[in-house]
């Protein structure tokens, strides 16, 4: 049996978290999926527990997703971090690449989330 992994979803939209959580749960049984609605809460959670995957929205109240990703990348060089955002501007994509995080364009679909995580798992 594949080892259970942990995911932290950071998005101010409860709806977005609900969808992504459902997509991961139905494809990766038994994985632990936690949620944070903003950067401050996320930073508190990663201080308490280490995660295998951090999926981060861009447009959130307070610190935005890129600023958060920069902090997370500095703290967790080996964790898979992806910016999952509706903001498809090239500038945002380039910034994500420059700080070493993946870019996933919303909307989150089951295929998109499943294939992304499966590709990361295959590469481990």
């Amino acid at each position: 049996m594949a080892p259970q992994k942990s995911v932290l979803l950071i998005d101010d939209s409860k709806f977005a978290r609900l969808l992504v959580k459902a997509f991961i749960s139905s494809n990766f049984a038994g994985w632990e999926i936690n949620e944070a609605e903003d950067a401050a809460k996320a930073l508190g959670m990663v201080a308490e527990k280490s995660y295998d995957y951090l999926l981060v929205d861009f447009n959130m109240p307070g610190m935005n997703g890129l600023e958060l990703c920069e902090k997370l990348r500095a703290q967790f060089p080996d964790t898979v971090i992806a910016l999952l955002t509706a903001n498809i501007q090239k500038e945002i994509q380039n910034k994500a690449e420059s700080i070493g995080v993946d870019f996933l364009a919303k909307p989150p679909t089951e295929e998109k989330i499943r294939d992304y995580i499966a590709s990361k798992e295959a590469g481990r």
Binding site: D12, A22, P61, N87, Q89, K106, P107, T109
Partner: protein, 207 residues
């Protein structure tokens, strides 16, 4: 009111077309059905009630709005009739949710749809023009269509009479009998700046 050349008019329409096309593709992915779009229409008005969008002024509509700021600024809105909004949410959810929870989720879901649609529009326009655009957090309003633009920052900030550029595109989800529209509202200064950027874009593109 605003003197756009035919080419500038066509270019702005095409920019919106590209943006809304990207947005429709996102919506189509979410609801797993085709989304049909009308040809974008640009109108200049002094009051929202001057548009033919206010034909049913007392109809209650749900709207997700995001202000945007950059070389030009304004407000982008995704609008659809209130009576269809739960239907849209049901189409979006891929998990079974009891009706009570569905109602609770309605606003959250519509805000996220608006966020995705409006960012797809603005992001595409930004990418084509090569100019970053900052988007605010989405906000939700449910009101009569005639009051849709009340508290519109663009019209209240300036002492003079504002000019609004309304860019209107209708979208349709035939399987669910849902239709709505996307609006971009900008004041005169922003319209002039957009026109300038379009001129530069055309100059670069046409050599």
């Amino acid at each position: 009111m605003i003197d756009l050349t035919e080419l500038e008019h066509d270019t702005i329409s095409e920019l919106i077309n590209i943006g809304v096309g990207r947005a429709a593709s996102s919506l189509s992915e979410m609801v797993e059905q085709p989304v049909e779009l009308t040809v974008p229409r640009i109108t200049f008005v002094e009051r929202f009630s001057d548009t033919d969008l206010a034909k049913a002024p007392t109809e209650i509509v749900s709207a997700v709005s995001q202000t945007f700021d950059g070389p030009f600024k304004g407000e982008a809105m995704l609008v659809f009739p209130e009576e269809r909004s739960l239907e849209l949410v049901r189409s979006l959810l891929k998990v079974d949710v009891p009706l009570e929870a569905l109602t609770d989720l309605e606003q959250e879901a519509l805000m996220e749809v608006g966020n995705i649609i409006l960012n797809a529009c603005l992001g595409s326009i930004s990418n084509v023009l090569g100019e970053p655009i900052n988007c605010s957090m989405p906000s939700f309003r449910k009101r009569e269509s005639r009051s849709l633009l009340d508290q519109d920052g663009a019209s209240s900030q300036t002492g003079k009479k504002p000019v609004l550029m309304i860019l209107h595109v209708q979208f349709m989800l035939r399987q669910n009998d849902i239709d709505g529209y996307v609006l971009f509202v900008m004041d005169l200064d922003s319209i002039q700046m957009l026109r300038e950027l379009v001129r530069r874009f055309l100059a670069n593109s046409l050599g």
